[in-house]
Symmetry: D4
Subunit: 132 residues, 8 copies
């Protein structure tokens, strides 16, 4: 079991994933990193989410960045989205991640800002420790 699942939509998002793990390596939380596309591997993604006992999901995606939203529609855990600049400076991904319909929340951080996804995950997990 890990605390945080870090999923990216494509191998090309690896550099941003590394910014997430760089921060998490200095924390007390465990994590794992997977490459699963919401659009190209929907069954694999669904299976992963169902079987995972992670507490927080970080989803990294560019373009029509569906990954965070799809995860948020299949789990009740907090999902943090990282928009990646693949085209248009990342504005497409930011809007795809932030503009979710009411009822299916995704917590968007800034474009390419993997570090803040890690920091947000840490804040959430720290809160739960304190709450105990």
């Amino acid at each position: 079991m890990v605390d945080i699942s870090i999923l990216m939509g494509s191998e090309s998002d690896r550099a941003i994933a590394n910014r997430v793990t760089s921060v998490l390596e200095n924390s007390n939380y465990s994590f794992e990193v997977e490459v699963i596309s919401a659009h190209r591997d929907p069954e694999k993604l669904e299976e992963y989410i169902k079987e995972s006992d992670s507490k927080v999901f970080v989803a990294i995606a560019g373009l029509s960045a569906a990954l965070p939203g799809v995860i948020a529609s299949k789990t009740k855990k907090p999902v943090i989205g990282v928009p990646v600049n693949a085209k248009l400076g990342g504005l497409d991904a930011l809007l795809s991640i932030a503009q979710m319909p009411p009822g299916v929340p995704v917590a968007s951080v800034g474009i390419d800002n993997g570090a803040n996804a890690a920091h947000m995950a840490i804040r959430i997990l720290d809160l739960c420790k304190v709450s105990q």
Copy 2:
């Protein structure tokens, strides 16, 4: 069995769906209209797609408009997306629909342009009739 499935992400997209059906009513093709959110009803959506024998899907959605992309990831039929202006003039939905990753194509028409989704579906189905 129907020729065209028209799905919208939310009841608030009904006006745009009506623009699709207004055009299709003057065609020779049959259609059905359903409200299923990709984000709030993923299982219902998946089931619908699996059981449907429609030839073409028209998906209408605003904001982070995931519906067309999710359908395209679960069928090999042509999927036409209609971005709806809910916020930002519909730019968010246009980008979410058009900027799909390679391998999972969605055919985007213009913002709120349900008519052109119908016309595109008719062109595709006409082509198949001619091809026979």
Copy 3:
């Protein structure tokens, strides 16, 4: 003591705050709502944050929406930002809230989407209950 502090930058953001509380009223979590501008009342804001024992902050702001970021710089709790459409369709507020520098994370939801701020807060607090 309350679970969730909902702060808005201006009385004109009240309608969006109501969308947050509408959702929270159907949850098991307590909350309080305050109007404090990050730019016009920095001392009051600082004092509020220091004295608050809320677990999660929801900050609602338009224009150069500094409120969520200022809160995130003064607490280690999770901060959820709601960009409000005051000008430019809310794009200014979305960018101000999402594009935080590394180390000071804010979880942005969509423009005017107070409901999702509530849902995100609930997911975080539910996680902490489960974690116990």
Copy 4:
């Protein structure tokens, strides 16, 4: 006779055209590639469309990307448009291609996304085979 006509507005769009053909080469469909500008060679374009018996048109263009729309106005076959990033990240071309007036549909794929134009063409042609 070919199944798919791939037209680009300018020789500078060749790299995007290659993304279309790379995908089609692994399909069972035949294609041909031509460089014809809608704005600089309108007569040649018109003649090409009239004489072509292609089933699907893929039109690649940047800037004020008129090529897909002009083709769609002169044929009843499905037309797929690929916006090219020449300026402004390709936003100009995406809007020029997607925002067609009702009655003259173009199926826009993402910016520079020649691969998805090919995949969309394949879906359409596969549908027609199945329909027979």
Copy 5:
């Protein structure tokens, strides 16, 4: 024979056309107004351009505003384009009109600014009178 041909892509652009004629009525130049869509009536448009002996064309269009560019590709006379705000504040039309490929110039005025199209036409025609 008239000095200026004013073409609009759709009857819905009439209000902007009236701004052009309001200015021209106070000038010494003659004009005529026609509704011809570049996308829906390409043959009629071509015929009109060929038979016209107008000195200057003013083309008014919204969305993927192809009309000015198509005219410019079929005449060597000066073409002035007026982008109309139909969606996205008219940004789509402005980009479609201004971002023409080298060799096929269109003179874009501001969004909905029919008055300036008239003033530009007057400047051109005044220059020719002076040049004689």
Copy 6:
């Protein structure tokens, strides 16, 4: 006396000016090129415009591209503006040049598109020759 005055706001716009002159060198029209900033050299600019007997002005500028508009406010000759990409992909310059107030027209061509400024100038001057 020259037919066309080509003014640029800054020496850094020289590459775009060269695109104008490259086209004009293959025409029958004479031209001269000057570097005068509307903002830093307003008196020199005014003097130049007053003393010039050019028939057409081409004004090249980036950022808050005031040069074309200032020229248009001080002459009754046709003024063609070329927006330069210095920041924001040139969107700032395009808007500054195109969005002129009614009564002071500027003919905007595309971003960095010096060639089309030349072609537009040629069309205007050709018209005047024919009109004689």
Copy 7:
């Protein structure tokens, strides 16, 4: 003699000018308000600037908002620009006002934010009083 000159490009900017004067009426500084278009009345504007002994200029303008920049090019006093939302949410005016070339500074406040122009003028004048 007045402390602050408030100029607007068009009578239609009056509502924004009133936001400036509403704030200034509660200050100790005198002001006067004039309507002078930089594009339509350049001579009147130049004369006004030369004869004025105001300490600070506030310039209000929409669209291609040249007024603040033209004033800044003709005086060495501080110039504050207020972009007005006439089209595109005021983004055109904001960019025209803020993106000035190096050497000719304009202090831009927010879109339609006449109040902040007044507050900025007061800060500058207060500083000068204190400095004495």
Copy 8:
């Protein structure tokens, strides 16, 4: 005591700060340069502002550029903001700096335009000298 305090949000903004100092070195005004993040060092920033007797503040920041606004909320001196292009061409920083709420003014100059921040500071300080 110095005349002008130049603060930047991050060491990565140094190049833009140098553009400010390059201009100021040729003026008669003294200045100092500090790196203090509004988001990561709020206490240090507050202390700096309280202890400073600078007459004018220049604040340089990218992304969600809170620095100028936070300073403006804690001093009554004039604050000049310089948006830095870190993402999205600097549009995010420009909007964060310019779109301040009424009552807390920031004078925004153009993206990366450190020179104009210096020139604006000089104009303000020159005015105060003249006013004495």
